[in-house]
């Protein structure tokens, strides 16, 4: 119980804040509850398959295979695989972090994991079709080309900004 309270203290505090706001400003309070509910349903409907696939990935893909395809020295092939994995995803970016954790645990290179995160954030295929429908093809394609370049630059920048020790610590975080 104590451990539960400790882990969920921020969440519980937020609920209290939401209730207080609900009493002070009923409009905003009610609206926030309905948005939270809608988002919760939306998220909880995409999240189960992502985590099941994560579990299967963790159990069935051994370290040697993951290292061979996305580890250090996997070259262009590794980048492409990371990119496609991220683009084929669905769901919010924060669902990508645990998946990235499993990739790190299995020996993917940090660079490729950042490519994966970048692809998950901006080049998800279902999102792109939706973007094109709302904002037009020219806008979407221009942004896509820029994003692909940007994902590479961000991955390089982030990796280069970490020294050997700091990189090792990230791997230790995900053991």
């Amino acid at each position: 119980m104590k451990a539960f309270l400790k882990r969920y203290r921020v969440f519980l505090l937020l609920i209290i804040i939401n209730i207080v706001i609900g009493f002070a400003l009923p409009d905003i309070g009610l609206k926030s509850i309905s948005i939270t509910k809608q988002n919760f349903i939306e998220m909880i409907s995409v999240i189960p398959p992502i985590f099941i696939l994560l579990g299967l990935l963790d159990v069935w893909v051994d370290r040697a295979t993951m290292m061979k395809y996305t580890g250090k020295g996997s070259g262009l092939k590794g980048i492409l695989i990371a990119f496609l994995l991220g683009s084929a995803a669905a769901g919010p970016l924060y669902a990508a972090f645990p998946v990235a954790g499993v990739m790190l645990k299995k020996g993917s290179s940090l660079f490729n994991v950042f490519i994966f995160i970048g692809a998950w954030s901006t080049t998800k295929i279902p999102m792109l079709t939706f973007e094109a429908a709302s904002l037009g093809l020219t806008f979407t394609l221009t942004r896509l080309v820029l994003s692909i370049i940007g994902i590479l630059i961000i991955a390089v920048t982030t990796e280069k900004a970490l020294n050997k020790d700091q990189q090792k610590k990230i791997y230790e975080l995900n053991q």
Binding site: Y8, V10, F11, L14, I15, N18, I28, K31, S32, I35, T36, N39, E42, M43, S45, P48, P49, I50, F51, I52, L53, L54, G55, L56, D58, V59, W60, A90, L93, Y94, F97, P98, A100, G101, V102, L110, G118, S121, T122, M127, F130, E131, A133, S134, L135, T138, F139, T142, R143, L146, S147, G150, I153, I154, T158, A161, L162, Q166, I170, N174
Partner: protein, 158 residues
């Protein structure tokens, strides 16, 4: 639609895994639950924060804030709103389209969409769990800078 494909994949994967090795499948499901439970407290907190943020910063408010404004301040404002808020795509893109109609330029819209997807201030605690503080902060700052540059390029092209 895409969610169904994902469910199909997960279902097929589970069935194949179960057929090959029951124990490993059990382990996979345990791992799946453990990873989910691991992020659950933050996940729930994020949902409430988004709910509150969007109730206060409603699509109408965002339109008012960004619709009229243009130029560099508009771009910066759009990028900041995109970084702070976490709006699912099916809400964000129609909102962006509405912003365009209400007078926002392509530059502002590009900044908003790009930071919305790449920069996550609310989700920083979750990202730090996987990547640590330093990498997380650097990734988010680079993504922010990139979004601004992309916005200017799109503003020039379109």
């Amino acid at each position: 639609m895409f969610t169904y494909i994902l469910y199909g994949l997960a279902g097929t994967g589970l069935a194949m895994s179960f057929f090959k090795d029951r124990n490993k499948t059990k382990m996979a499901l345990k791992k799946a639950w453990k990873s989910f439970e691991n992020i659950l407290p933050q996940f729930l907190s994020i949902l409430i924060i988004i709910g509150l943020a969007l109730a206060i910063l409603s699509p109408e408010t965002i339109t008012n804030l960004l619709g009229m404004r243009s130029g560099i301040w508009g771009v910066l404002g759009a990028a900041l709103i995109g970084s702070i808020t976490l709006i699912p795509g099916f809400v964000a893109f129609p909102l962006a389209a509405a912003l365009l109609k209400n007078g926002a330029g392509y530059m502002q819209i590009a900044a908003f969409v790009s930071t919305l997807m790449m920069v996550g201030i609310v989700t920083l605690p979750l990202e730090i769990k996987t990547f640590g503080k330093r990498a997380t902060i650097i990734r988010n700052i680079s993504a922010f800078v990139f979004s601004m540059i992309a916005a200017f390029v799109i503003g020039v092209v379109l």
